[in-house]
């Protein structure tokens, strides 16, 4: 019981801190990485709530699909931005 509470507190802290990091971080790429951390800890919460299948789906869909898509977008936009700055300079 108390161990579950400790685990919950720990991962709640991780979720909240990384979520705040997602929002407050200046660099979009760091935000994407922290979003991955946050999604993983949400999956841990699902395991704590006896929803193992949903935790697996969370990791598969979010970290495997959504985060990869966001990473693609970040890299595409950043690449062109750096290119344009290089042309201007």
């Amino acid at each position: 019981m108390v161990y579950e509470l400790i685990a919950f507190g720990l991962f709640a802290a991780i979720t909240l801190v990384s979520g705040l990091g997602v929002v407050l971080m200046e660099d979009v790429w760091h935000s994407a990485l922290l979003l991955g951390v946050s999604l993983f800890s949400v999956a841990v919460h699902f395991v704590l709530l006896e929803a193992e299948f949903l935790a697996a789906m969370q990791v598969l869909v979010y970290v495997g699909g959504v985060l990869i898509l966001i990473t693609f977008a970040v890299m595409l936009t950043r690449h062109r931005e750096a290119e344009r700055e290089g042309v201007q300079a």
Binding site: M1, E4, L5, F8, A12, T15, L16, G19, L20, V22, V23, V28, S31, A32, L35, S38, L39, V42, H45, F46, L48, L49, E50, A51, F53, L54, M57, Q58, V61, Y62, G65, V66, L69, I70, F72, A73, V74, L76, T77, R80, R84
Partner: protein, 101 residues
């Protein structure tokens, strides 16, 4: 038996507010997308917490649907962001004021 459900409620409310904060303060469209992900995750935490609370599987199945919806939403969002970037050269959401160019 386990963690009280109020804690999960507080956690999901906090995550939701963090996501809302991100949507309201950031101007990068990608940050919008990530904040929406955070908010959907908060909703999912609530669903699963109450599913376990009542011993009813409906919440879990619904959370599964929210997951699929989030995936579809991100796919469309990425497409829109890339089109926005191609037409405006930036991902600033305040730049696009009209629905045509």
């Amino acid at each position: 038996m386990a963690v009280p459900v109020e804690y999960y409620l507080l956690l999901s409310a906090a995550v939701f507010c963090v996501g809302l904060f991100g949507i309201l303060t950031r101007r990068n469209a990608l940050m919008f997308l990530m904040s929406v992900e955070l908010m959907l995750n908060a909703a999912n935490i609530n669903f699963v917490a109450f599913s376990q609370y009542w011993g009813n599987l409906t919440g879990q199945v619904f959370a599964l649907f929210v997951l699929a919806l989030a995936a579809a939403e991100v796919a469309i969002g990425i497409g829109i962001i890339l089109v926005l970037y191609r037409n405006f050269g930036d991902v600033d959401v305040t730049l696009a004021r009209e629905m045509r160019w």
